[in-house]
């Protein structure tokens, strides 16, 4: 290689690198200012006592000690974990069933209609959906209990029961999000080569074996994606609870995010709220890492 060409190449490489930085610049600045900077700041605030008016005072681990003695925090974490587990299981099970059923060689028009109908609620703000369901779920004047009564059932305290209301939140969440997960599964199922299934059928595999041995591995990536999305989404549950129950009865439906917002922006205990935010961050981080670990050993790569 001629030295002149080498220099030319080096210059070109330098120019390409410069362009690269310029192109990613805005996104990286956004990341520093609105993600990383605030993340570092929230860590700092979590060691302070701060009411948003007078300057923060360093308090060491006091906020973290308070985490362990706060009964309300324990309750809101319990609720949130129930939301996460229930949402992951229910959304994915129903979505998989729906996707499998839709994927039964139905007339194309029907597939299209069903897919649209199930998917539409995922596009509507959870606020609006919760407003509608709140009216439907009224104990004594709502539609759902009216129909329950009509078929001889007992009225259910959908919104005002310490044991039931949590599940009402889960029902509304599942109802809204099942269509999105279904869509992903339908896309993944369409990619499973029919030849593979037919070959397995010829080998005498039943539908269950077929599903377990062929389908699940082939769509493992979609499962992983859906689970990740539902976990992260369920940890952030907020507006549906605000509208449906406002956290009640008592604290029985309050989510971690609601509690965090209450401590930060109602009680102005910024330091303690920051410590709660850190726990939320660590838990989401942990859950994601665990999922990646599982994925590495389980997800099937093409």
């Amino acid at each position: 290689m001629a030295p002149a060409g080498g220099r030319d190449k080096a210059r070109r490489r330098r120019r390409e690198a410069l362009n690269g930085y310029l192109f990613v610049g805005p996104s990286i600045i956004g990341f520093f200012v609105f993600i990383l900077g605030p993340l570092l700041a929230v860590i700092y605030y979590s060691f302070t006592r701060y009411d948003a008016i007078s300057p923060p005072q360093f308090r060491g681990l006091a906020n973290y000690e308070r985490l362990f003695t706060d009964d309300r925090l324990r309750q809101v974490y319990l609720n949130t974990i129930i939301y996460v587990v229930a949402a992951v299981v229910l959304i994915n099970v129903f979505a998989l069933i729906l996707a499998a059923v839709i994927n039964q060689r139905l007339p194309h028009g029907l597939t299209y209609i069903f897919r649209s109908v199930y998917f539409f609620p995922s596009l509507v703000s959870l606020v609006y959906i919760s407003l509608i369901w709140q009216a439907l779920f009224q104990r004594d004047t709502g539609l759902v209990n009216y129909y329950l009564d009509a078929v001889g059932g007992q009225p259910v305290n959908w919104l005002s029961s310490t044991s039931m209301s949590r599940w009402t939140v889960v029902i509304v969440d599942t109802w809204r999000n099942v269509g999105f997960a279904m869509l992903i599964y339908v896309a993944a199922l369409q990619d499973v080569p029919k030849e593979l299934e037919e070959a397995a059928q010829l080998d005498g595999a039943g539908p269950v074996t077929l599903f377990r041995k062929i389908t699940v591995p082939m769509i493992s990536q979609a499962i992983f994606f859906n689970v990740t999305i539902t976990v992260i989404g369920a940890f952030q549950i907020y507006e549906s609870v605000i509208v449906l129950t406002n956290g009640g009865p008592g604290d029985s439906t309050r989510s971690v995010v609601m509690y965090l917002a209450e401590q930060a922006f109602s009680n102005f205990q910024i330091g303690y709220a920051s410590a709660i935010a850190i726990t939320l961050f660590l838990i989401i981080l942990g859950a994601t890492l665990v999922q990646f670990r599982i994925r590495r050993s389980w997800v099937h790569y093409e």
Partner: protein
């Protein structure tokens, strides 16, 4: 990596459709349709209830058994919602303004970064990309306190900018666009570079048009996410003139306001209809955008 995008972008596969058409109707298919129909009714019913109630008078708003088709047409509810306790049209405009500017910003920053991460070589490219991806694990709920303090010191509380500024960049958009750019063969850009076009021209004239589908998908998804957002607006906007539509509807229901069910449902109907129109018009890109993010990183 790339084929999942194709999955998302593609809605039908000609070959399998033909195979389907050749089959006879099987009992399993009938059962499937029955199950799906029952489920679909459950998905539609709440929206039907919403529309029917939005057209009722206050006297009949709670009638049981309910009507499943409109029996009265009290259009006044819509004007009552608009002229009611909250400046609803203004709130709608606020939502629209925030969502539009956020989307435009995202459509500028994300494709640029996506292109660079896909096709330009520069030191630290991979670690920067991983760093950016890691921010997907930092939801706004974790950083909301410092964000509030930043917006406060910039005097942006109660202005749309408190939501637009953090919204115009984002890892998900970069990630999505990188995936779309990776499906484009590198040779296409390289030939342009050899022709002497500078990087910006290559990007604008060659690269961007090739990912038009990706841009549509990113645009629609960003717009919807912003249009539907509740958490951050509820923290940053606290006057009713600055409120976005979801905030306004929650306020409208408050115990000290009229909060009448039929008017509430009229307001909710007005809020849901844009999503419905967007869906009907842009279904293809919405589905492409959402399924494209289902790709492994």
């Amino acid at each position: 990596m790339s084929n999942a995008i194709a999955v998302g972008a593609r809605t039908t596969r000609p070959a399998s459709r033909q195979r389907r058409a050749r089959r006879r109707v099987r009992p399993a298919a009938i059962v499937s349709v029955a199950i799906l129909t029952i489920g679909a009714l459950g998905m539609i019913a709440p929206f039907v209830y919403m529309v029917v109630t939005a057209l009722k008078t206050a006297q009949h708003a709670y009638d049981l058994p309910p009507d499943w088709y409109p029996t009265e047409f009290n259009w006044n509810n819509f004007s009552a919602a608009i002229n009611g306790p909250l400046p609803l049209l203004r709130n709608m405009f606020n939502s629209f303004f925030i969502a539009t500017l956020t989307t435009l910003g995202m459509l500028i920053t994300a494709p640029m970064a996506g292109y660079a991460f896909a096709h330009l070589k520069f030191p630290g490219r991979n670690s920067l990309f991983v760093l950016l991806l890691a921010s997907l694990m930092v939801p706004v709920q974790v950083t909301v306190i410092p964000l509030f303090l930043i917006m406060r010191s910039l005097h942006l509380i109660n202005t749309p900018w408190s939501l637009i500024l953090p919204g115009i960049t984002g890892a998900l958009g970069v990630f999505l666009m990188r995936q779309f750019f990776l499906t484009v063969p590198k040779e296409l850009f390289e030939s342009a570079t050899v022709d002497g076009a500078n990087a910006w021209t290559t990007y604008r004239l060659v690269a961007l048009p090739l990912v038009r589908n990706g841009l549509s998908a990113l645009g629609v998804v960003t717009f919807l996410a912003s249009w539907n957002a509740y958490f951050a607006p509820s923290i940053f906007l606290n006057s009713q003139d600055a409120a976005t539509l979801p905030l306004a509807l929650v306020l409208m229901r408050g115990p000290f306001s009229t909060g009448q069910l039929n008017v509430m449902m009229a307001a909710t109907t007005m809020a849901v209809i844009p999503a419905l129109i967007a869906y009907l018009v842009a279904q293809r890109w919405i589905i492409a955008g959402l399924t494209a993010s289902a790709v492994k990183g």
